[in-house]
Subunit: 385 residues, 3 copies
Amino acid sequence: MANVSEDILKKVKAWAPYVDAKLGFRNHWYPVMFSGDIEEGEVKKLKLLGEPLLVKRIDGKLHCIKDKCLHRGVPLSEKLDCKTKDTITCWYHAWTYRWETGELCDIMTNPSSAQIGRHKLKVYPVEEAKNCVFIYLGDGDTPPLSRDTPPGFLDDGLEILGICRELKANWRLGVENGFDPSHIYIHKDAVLVQGNDLVLPLGFAPGEDRSQQTRVVDDDSEGGRKGVYDLIGEHGMPVMEGTVDGEVVREGNFGNTLVANDISIWMPGVLKVNPWPNPDMVQFEWYVPIDENNHYYFQTLGKKCESQEEIEAFKHAFEFKWKKMALMGFNDDDIWAREAMVDFYSDDLGWVNEILFEPDEAIIAWRKLASKHNQGIQTFDDVRK
Amino acid sequence: MANVSEDILKKVKAWAPYVDAKLGFRNHWYPVMFSGDIEEGEVKKLKLLGEPLLVKRIDGKLHCIKDKCLHRGVPLSEKLDCKTKDTITCWYHAWTYRWETGELCDIMTNPSSAQIGRHKLKVYPVEEAKNCVFIYLGDGDTPPLSRDTPPGFLDDGLEILGICRELKANWRLGVENGFDPSHIYIHKDAVLVQGNDLVLPLGFAPGEDRSQQTRVVDDDSEGGRKGVYDLIGEHGMPVMEGTVDGEVVREGNFGNTLVANDISIWMPGVLKVNPWPNPDMVQFEWYVPIDENNHYYFQTLGKKCESQEEIEAFKHAFEFKWKKMALMGFNDDDIWAREAMVDFYSDDLGWVNEILFEPDEAIIAWRKLASKHNQGIQTFDDVRK
Amino acid sequence: MANVSEDILKKVKAWAPYVDAKLGFRNHWYPVMFSGDIEEGEVKKLKLLGEPLLVKRIDGKLHCIKDKCLHRGVPLSEKLDCKTKDTITCWYHAWTYRWETGELCDIMTNPSSAQIGRHKLKVYPVEEAKNCVFIYLGDGDTPPLSRDTPPGFLDDGLEILGICRELKANWRLGVENGFDPSHIYIHKDAVLVQGNDLVLPLGFAPGEDRSQQTRVVDDDSEGGRKGVYDLIGEHGMPVMEGTVDGEVVREGNFGNTLVANDISIWMPGVLKVNPWPNPDMVQFEWYVPIDENNHYYFQTLGKKCESQEEIEAFKHAFEFKWKKMALMGFNDDDIWAREAMVDFYSDDLGWVNEILFEPDEAIIAWRKLASKHNQGIQTFDDVRK
């Protein structure tokens, strides 16, 4: 059953699956925390595509299990009860599950129960890469993590640092704010732009030929990755003078540092801005569905480092400069912009009533790509199971 | 599509349009603030019949525009961005609208967009009279303000002063509390009544002939105004002794000052009490729909003044006596009475389950008048547009 | 009309009426406060099965009337107005009702109204027994209080003391937590268990024969009472060693004091644990529906007392030991356990998706009994009336 009314889905035919995907796309990899956030033996609680989950590190390896006992549906996390390293026991009636498989392996209150061995709690694959923890929120065969990360992210020698925040907006409002070519207007007064001497136009006037605005990757040329490159900077005109009634009322930023000439969005919703916020760095950021009203804003910066010394220098610069000035500072404006869209899209009618304009071609290409190449639409039924 | 279920509307046939009008009546004038509340160049935000609006004073004249960008639906007020005197620019993608017409006159991020000149943001007429700011929340030809104000309100020489508050109750609960002949029972202990030596019965026993309880103005005799006069004071018996089981348990107030002998309600929901709270004053009060759960309680007192000296004296008396004792003090009891009705009517079933009695004839006459002479029922679709 | 969707009710056929009874069962007696909580002349406000109610003590006897004026639906309690001992007057238009019958006996604002004597506000029978105040939330003939109290509760010489709390969980989650044989796992670390040297297993392994797990009383053998005895302690094996993967990870409590060998649940939802928390006491506790999301947790302890001296000693022990250690302390764990089930059952789908196990036979027997022997299902229509 659809998450959105059929009446609305009919009106947004060209990207109906995307409009229906308010809970996100199932059968994809999503980052949810950093490796350093979870120590050996520790259990962390989170929500992904509406599903309450627990993650535990056992002998170094991470495991993920659904945080909802099969018996009476209570959260295991209400009172964590781990009797052995490899199992988790429900605090209520002592139903006990294996972290590895989810198997109901024991019931301490009734050790001879016929239910033992007959049921499995849902478990999901977890992988760590670049100090990020990824969960495959899906069923069946597990695809390689590379399929759901942007080109370059997993490259050898690329050091990744980042932060993760929980925001009160649907995940698609995050993607569409990030990949939107003309949203840069909101950043015109950012300290980063001045302080880092960046070139930043007010917007872009695309050329006549819509097909030149984007380049879609929907074959297997990128290792199975599906994505859209935004080419408006190349084939359109940057707007440096903003006019109202023929009068210039605002100028863009004429800096000396050229950045962000290579921007792309990838399934299942991850943006690559290259280079950014400095010519020697690249920003990758995910908009991870928590539920229909919230997403994790998972922001990372990557830098090629060839020695431990360079890594330490990057960590220091990240901590004392880029985290505050770029990931916070600059991107904080994106946060309230997404939140300002919430009301209009909250009853699903925003997708029908919006009026798009030429530079939104990039967003349209993303919507079509996501509608075609997603591996499944998460439903409220998936959440309940 | 109706705002209220057809099942309920069928059961309240005689005033179904009124029951359906939880968001108020469209195509009418409503006061929303006082002239002194908005200075030259200032922008104020408000909500009327569910619609978010902005009002700006330009060269003395007020303009009203919908506070929702046509592009992605964000509130312009989230971060006001006025680049020229006559325009307002959306902070997100710099779509720019004229205050006068609502025309999308420029898009600073893409100055050659084909959308420019093709769309209009909704604008509404604004008029100032008697120091009050009125918005015509409607479409098509604008009727004269006089049609939607009670007789006398616009008279030359009548000085108007007032206050405006936001209350958590549907607007109709405001009207029906104000125009209700027997609600005076709640005012029996008011300081104003004692302090101003007013005559105030506990209620009224109407005569046998229902037609004498009210006088309906639904022709053009009053300049197009439609309203109902409450005649219960004239044709009924004031109740000065309240009895339970034959025993007098409470008396009305036997003061020396006769007031409120001329009470009437007018479309689109404005009460006139004449004279009140003193023989030389008249109270006009509006119950302005903010949305289905809230209304502005817009209270004014009028006094004929023949000189600047008299005006100053009235202002002084208003500030130091009548505002606190009448508009607050006395009317504060009306506020909690309205709020106490909210639960019962919140699922629309109160209109079906209520049990009315004889003095409610005035309220019934109002419901029928409003059902017949409203100029349109605001819908949730109107709000979204 | 059902409270729960037909689709769900079909899937829980064996106890559909119980699943539908989210507002509780009508036509039963419920305790709502203690006798000492309401003095002569005092009026108390409460909610029962969704209905707002007022209780007043008049000449020693308690009366209960619906807290919603028939006229415009306002709560009489918004501003209590009792002009005579036997009546209550609405603060709004002075509609006046008799506490005894609910009759609209006077309208002070219009003493000759034809409505007087034609309407009745709903009133409900009230009885006091064992210092508890019971309301019969129902219509028609009033059954004896004994029918809806567990065997023994009304016995001569049994002194009853208790407390009453408001909890944020549906009443059925209260019953099912209390009567659940294996929920004792959550109490394994309770101070009461150690401090009072109680025997407390981790759970029970029932025998093969399901019919021996419970004894159902659904004839008239117990004075019309309908209930279920939990016999798992008798016919099953107590689990004193909890194992995971064959290893003992937790032991039950090997105390010297045997308690709780006689546990039963009774319509309309009251638990008897005998003896408890000491061999000379018995606990009776009700889970009284306030509305679909809340219940009163009405907890009492009974003790046979043969002299005033014994009564005083019991009162002292109750106040300084049992109230804190048993009714609070020990039972506080039950409170958060109920609240932890709320999410799963809140959309009614928990009743479909739960996976029960052998010891839940007691709960199943209760569900079937309640489905068969309830005297009526409270509906949202009953609440509105």
